[in-house]
């Protein structure tokens, strides 16, 4: 007894992946229990199993000692499980009170809005979740919206709270405020599951931590009795890296030179803060980091898809900071974007059309505004042969191809332009082992031909085996640039979480400004 929630031997498989492999977990009354793990470690799957969004293949969930079986989130809510999703389930056009009471409103036919607001006011006082019940949710900051989500859970009499990556969208100050709330709730006796991949946050707020890796629970430890180093090792794992045979490097001149680049998101929050590095011809420069730390915003900025708000981007000796994406393409930059189905291809177009997407305006594909289908087909068939795209049918829609072959189509299109710099984001995401090997070989081949390659990947193994140098980014700040030949996984893992060996974190000037603000 004493365990409020117990998960025993919980298993969930999806086609081709064992997402949760005999998971064991206990949550005690009055503790904050962190689930720590890299992306893809199976944290989300576990939460969805507990919340009734998925059904387990085997294993058991015990709530207050009794086995429970949830068919939908409704059952889980009814049993007293409250969940705050990473992406909020709120209705911006309605007020805070409307959002909180929706589905269980006070009143019979008439909706007693005043009564709803009063109830919400009482709840927010009880749990110290200050927010104006009459405010429109769309007008609130992200931090306040999160409070509305927590209030929703308590309005439905939640006895236990699951927070799924709750700090992902918060500013540093909002994160601090959230931690105060979490500690207060814990002291009130509410057990909390805190899902995170951020070491420092786990250390700041959790009592116990369960580390997950590759679908398994690796260890459950008391946070007070463990070190960051230990947690990082457990999280990343010490499995032997399968090194890929690389030829000796023939380093050329600097091709890409970015200085103090700043990128803001739509809400004007800084995502990339003063990053500088250079990429040479003939090298693969890896940009490592935990998802959401600014790496994708940075490559989008280099490709010209988002504007930089500060700093400069130079390519091949020219300032390209303010060029359009098309103009950058003309200077010899190619881009393999993160989401191949959304950004990389037009799925409803056939391979011919997809392969000339970048060059359709030019001869021989276009003459005086008329497309030459004949030239395009010939070009496509040639690429299909060279890149071994299967099935070798130029008239097939991109949607009909496997993930690996879709990636080959994008690589073929980008490489065929003979670029000097290739930016590659998540090139092997979701591919099977054979396809991954093909992509890796292709990238190394390009490197040996003297191309510069900027690689962004969330796969640490891939990063370490392909890259010559690795820059590690955390919270938008470049922590360090390390030599991929000599660095250890543990060191990169620590850098990715913002900690350095001497225990200090590298803080940007922006952080300092925020601290100084009243």
């Amino acid at each position: 007894m004493g365990d409020f929630l117990a998960v025993t031997e919980l298993t969930k498989a999806f086609p081709g992946v064992l997402a949760n492999d005999h998971i064991n977990l206990t949550l005690r009354q009055g503790e904050v229990h962190a689930i720590l793990g890299e992306n893809g470690a199976g944290k989300s799957t576990l939460m969805k199993l507990i919340y009734g969004l998925y059904e387990p293949d085997s294993g058991e969930i015990l709530l207050e000692g009794k086995p429970v079986h949830f068919n939908s989130p409704r059952d889980a809510i009814h049993a007293g499980i409250g969940m705050v999703h990473q992406h909020f389930m709120l209705i911006p056009a309605l007020t805070v009170a409307d959002n909180v009471v929706l589905g269980d409103e006070p009143g019979r036919i008439r909706y007693h809005r005043k009564q709803a607001e009063e109830k919400v006011r009482r709840l927010s006082a009880q749990y110290k979740l200050t927010v104006d019940p009459a405010a429109k949710v769309g007008d609130l900051s992200v931090g306040l919206q999160q409070r509305v989500e927590i209030l929703k859970a308590f309005y439905r009499k939640a006895k236990l709270l699951i927070l799924d990556e709750p700090t992902a969208l918060l500013t540093p100050q909002e994160t601090e405020e959230l931690f105060v709330i979490i500690r207060h709730l814990r002291d009130e006796g509410v057990p909390i599951l805190f899902i995170s991949h951020k070491l420092d946050e786990v250390r700041a707020v959790a009592n116990r931590v369960t580390v997950m890796r590759a679908g398994k629970t690796v260890a459950t430890l008391s946070v007070a009795e463990t070190t960051s180093q230990q947690l990082a090792n457990l999280m990343v794992g010490r499995d032997v890296v399968l090194r890929i045979e690389k030829e000796a490097q023939k380093l050329g001149p600097v091709l890409l030179d970015i200085q103090n680049v700043e990128v803001h998101d739509k809400e004007k929050h800084p995502r990339v803060r003063g990053v500088s590095f250079q990429v040479h011809a003939g090298e693969i420069f890896g940009l490592a980091g935990i998802d959401g730390n600014g790496q994708f915003e940075l490559v989008d900025a280099i490709a010209g898809l988002v504007n930089v708000s500060g700093g400069s981007v130079r390519f091949d000796g020219k300032d390209i900071t303010h060029l359009s994406p098309g103009a950058r393409t003309e200077t010899g930059i190619a881009y393999v974007p993160q989401d191949r189905q959304v950004e990389g291809l037009v799925l409803n177009f056939d391979l011919v059309e997809n392969l000339i997407l970048r060059d359709y305006r030019r001869r021989p594909f276009s003459r005086n505004g008329w497309l030459s289908r004949q030239a395009a087909v010939k070009f496509a068939e040639d690429l299909i042969r060279r890149f071994d795209i299967r099935p070798p049918d130029a008239l097939r829609k991109a949607a009909d191809l496997s993930g690996g072959n879709q990636q080959k189509v994008i690589l073929a299109r980008e490489v065929a332009r003979d670029p000097k710099l290739l930016i590659v984001a998540q090139p092997t995401r979701g591919l099977d082992v054979g396809a991954i090997e093909g992509v890796h070989r292709q990238l190394l081949h390009l490197r040996d031909q003297g191309k510069a390659i900027l690689l962004v990947s969330l796969e640490l193994d891939e990063m370490m085996s392909l890259s010559d140098r690795i820059g590690v980014i955390h919270n938008g700040v470049l922590q360090d640039i390390v030599d991929a030949k000599t660095v250890t996984r543990e060191k990169i893992g620590l850098l990715m979480t913002g900690s350095r060996e001497d225990g200090t974190a590298r803080i940007s000037s922006l952080d300092l400004q925020e601290v100084r603000k009243p």
């Binding site: 309605l94 036919i109 008439r110």
Partner: protein
């Protein structure tokens, strides 16, 4: 200036606003739950036809009104089934309903009533002049000899507002039109709420049609709605998807039509005045006058993966 002092201008404004306000409020119900409804034109035609037919067959315009509402609910139900259950494209469906309605009403008119159309003996709805209001300046002009449906419409404006913004069901319907996933996880029945919205919309649109056939006249004519369903759509958007807004926009558009009637033979081309509703709607949509924002999930089918 003398035009504005003409009582007929103001009576005409309210009268012409009625067949716009009813479907506009109907559309509001549908779109607030997240189903884009451009089928008002077609549902109005169906309503107009069945109102006249049943008024003629039963001798009671009230039973005609009931028949119009039933027919409107039925066709809206079919539309809702395809739009919600089958997750079909709502704009294409709406156009299909409009084309179908134009065809079927023309066919039925010919088949049932023959070459001469609906008989002139058909009863129409009563008109009322409230004595207390009659002598009030301006207000009296508005309400001079209006059909009972005009008064019903005014009641419906208020009731609809109360329903959408002050009842639990109204809150739920609006929630489903904004974020069906969030509503679903809270235990709301997304599909049923959307059906409710679309069917209420159908009933109100049919009432708008019935006003044309047994309110102002006592006959049905092929394509007699003449695009009013689309102007109602514009009124709904111009009115920011609210009952009061829709009514206000309908009044404005009704005034434009009434004015162009009164100015016939004058120097100002009436076609230009008739354009006014559309110009105003485009301005509202582009944000030049009081930005109009649709419900967030308007037009997006919600699929259950259970």
């Amino acid at each position: 200036m003398s035009v504005l002092l003409n009582p007929q201008l103001w009576a005409g404004t309210l009268s012409l606003a009625t067949p716009l306000a009813l479907p506009a409020i109907g559309g509001t119900f549908s779109e607030r739950t997240g189903v884009v409804n451009i089928a008002m034109e077609g549902i109005m035609l169906i309503g107009a036809f069945f109102a006249v037919s049943f008024s003629y067959w039963t001798g009671s315009p009230w039973l005609g009104l009931l028949a119009a509402m039933t027919a409107g609910a039925l066709i809206a139900w079919v539309f809702a089934w395809a739009a919600i259950r089958l997750a079909s494209n709502q704009v294409v469906l709406g156009m299909a309903v409009n084309i179908f309605a134009a065809g079927i009403t023309a066919f039925l008119l010919n088949t049932i009533f023959g070459y001469n159309g609906t008989p002139p003996s058909t009863a129409s709805l009563a008109t009322i002049t409230i004595p207390a209001i009659k002598s009030v300046p301006i207000l009296g002009w508005f309400f001079y000899q209006q059909s009972v449906l005009v008064y019903l419409m005014l009641v419906l404006v208020v009731v609809s507002h109360w329903f959408l913004f002050h009842t639990r069901l109204g809150l739920r319907m609006r929630a489903v039109g904004e974020n069906p996933l969030a509503a679903d996880t809270l235990g709301l029945n997304v599909w049923r709420l959307r059906y409710t919205g679309v069917i209420i919309g159908g009933v109100l649109s049919a009432l708008g049609g019935a006003y044309l056939s047994i309110g102002i006249l006592n006959s049905f004519d092929v394509n007699m709605t003449n695009g009013r369903g689309y102007i109602a759509l514009a009124a709904m958007i111009f009115g920011k998807w609210t009952p009061f807004g829709s009514f206000g926009a309908a009044l404005l558009f009704g005034f434009a039509s009434s004015l162009s009637n009164s100015l016939q033979g004058n120097a100002i081309p009436t076609d230009l005045i008739a354009m006014l509703p559309y110009v105003l709607t485009v301005l509202a949509l582009t944000g030049i006058i009081g930005r109009s924002v649709a419900p967030a999930a308007d037009g997006i089918p919600y699929k259950l993966d259970r």
